[in-house]
Amino acid sequence: MSVSVAVAANFTAPMQKIAQAFEQDTGHKAVLSFGSTGAFYAQIKNGAPFQVLLAADDETPLRLEKEGMGVAGSRFTYATGRLVLWSKQVGYVDDQGAVLKLGRPVNAQGTRTAAPFTRLAIANPKLAPYGAAAIEVLTKLGLLQELQPKWVQGDNIAQTYQFVATENAPLGFVALSQVMVEGRISQGSAWVVPAHLHTPIRQDAVLLAKGQGNPAATALLQYLKSDKAKALIRSSFGYEL
């Protein structure tokens, strides 16, 4: 059997690995579509053939369930996202995030080095939970008003990553899962934002009405709760569970 899955953009890399293992272990096939949760919502409401949604938030699955498009009682948190302030340049972001307060990078001795940054990439807070979390962090640090003029907004977290990865923005708030490869931050410099600075970015999965009765859909949701999948999600990609 095969199951058609709508996957939030930030979960792209982990889900590709999980789907591979899922297919090997169960013989079912997972057909993955990646995109933004808001767009998936609109598509599901209008008859898209998705059977499982792995959302970037916990509100959309709840909403779908209330509206009868999600199967009641099938919702669960498959991952909790971590936010990271990231730069492609080595040494640009210090491990305390002081670069935000000073408005420019600092070196180990605490002396100012490069020119002040003029752009800070964040995901659109209205659309992306990682964007909303970034706003919370800036608010808690008391830097919201000061840094707002420097924002450049990605439509989703994948685009925000692209802005920083192409160095069009020297630094930005992205998902830890995007910059982690094999459990390590693969390049540049980063400050993993302490979890207490924002409400947890809970990412919920839900079985959709079109997936009801499909054994592959049920198997996939079960598989996401397995220790094997959890270990992968946590250690390789930096999510919490």
Binding site: G38, A42, V152, D155
Partner: protein
């Protein structure tokens, strides 16, 4: 918020059209007159934005305008800074994106008037520039009209490029098309309908006006 996006879109489309008419006129003239071996490759290059997906243009613009890209290096050397996520950057993107819509109608208009009018003008010892502006341009006016209207409308309808190099900054890069996308993603369908419906009406009106004007302008010769 919607009004900001609308006025920004109109500003972007007007400026793009203006820049395009200035750039496209000599380019279209050269393409219509030359027998150079470069004619075909340049013509193909000009037409490229017509067939490329906007995401390709947007992606390469993002890289080219970025601090390590060729355009980015140039703009920084000139002291203009990095132009991605600015109105100017969006203007550059729009000009490239709509280039074929400006060049092709003007080029076709120049081609269809033939060589005779300019030859007559030269025989009467008109300076080439004077002849160009008093003979060729008026004769090709329906081409210019089409170019202006299409450039304007195509810029208003631009989405992929803006999404890639815009950064969704209110008053700078948040235009109507990206605003609609934002409304849809945020599940604000009522607001999305207002703007999206407006776009449909606007686009229809533009195309209708274009065909009516061309009928009238195309026939009457000076």
């Amino acid at each position: 918020m919607n009004l900001d996006a609308i006025s920004l879109t109109l500003k972007l489309a007007s400026l793009t059209t203006l820049v395009l008419l200035v750039l496209a006129t000599p380019l279209a003239w050269w393409l219509s007159q030359t027998h150079s071996k470069w004619r075909a490759p340049v013509g193909a290059l000009v037409t490229l934005p017509l067939v490329l997906p906007p995401t390709v243009l947007g992606f390469y613009l993002l890289i080219a305008l970025g601090p390590n890209g060729p355009l980015g290096q140039m703009t920084q050397a000139l002291g203009w800074g990095v132009l991605s996520f600015t109105f100017t950057g969006l203007l550059i993107g729009s000009v490239i994106f709509s280039l074929p819509f400006a060049v092709q109608p003007i080029q076709h208009a120049f081609e269809s008037m033939g060589t005779r009018p300019m030859e007559v003008a030269y025989t009467l010892r008109a300076h080439p520039l004077v002849a160009f502006f008093t003979v060729a341009v008026p004769l090709a006016r329906s081409g210019f009209l089409t170019a202006a209207i299409l450039s304007f409308a195509h810029t208003v309808g631009e989405f992929g490029v803006v999404l890639m190099i815009g950064g969704n900054i209110p008053g700078q890069t948040r235009v109507v098309s990206t605003q609609i996308y934002g409304h849809v993603e945020a599940m604000e369908y009522a607001q999305a309908h207002w703007l999206a419906g407006g776009m449909v009406v606007f686009s229809f009106a533009v195309l209708l006006a274009l065909s009516l004007l061309r009928k009238r302008w195309g026939r009457v010769m000076p």
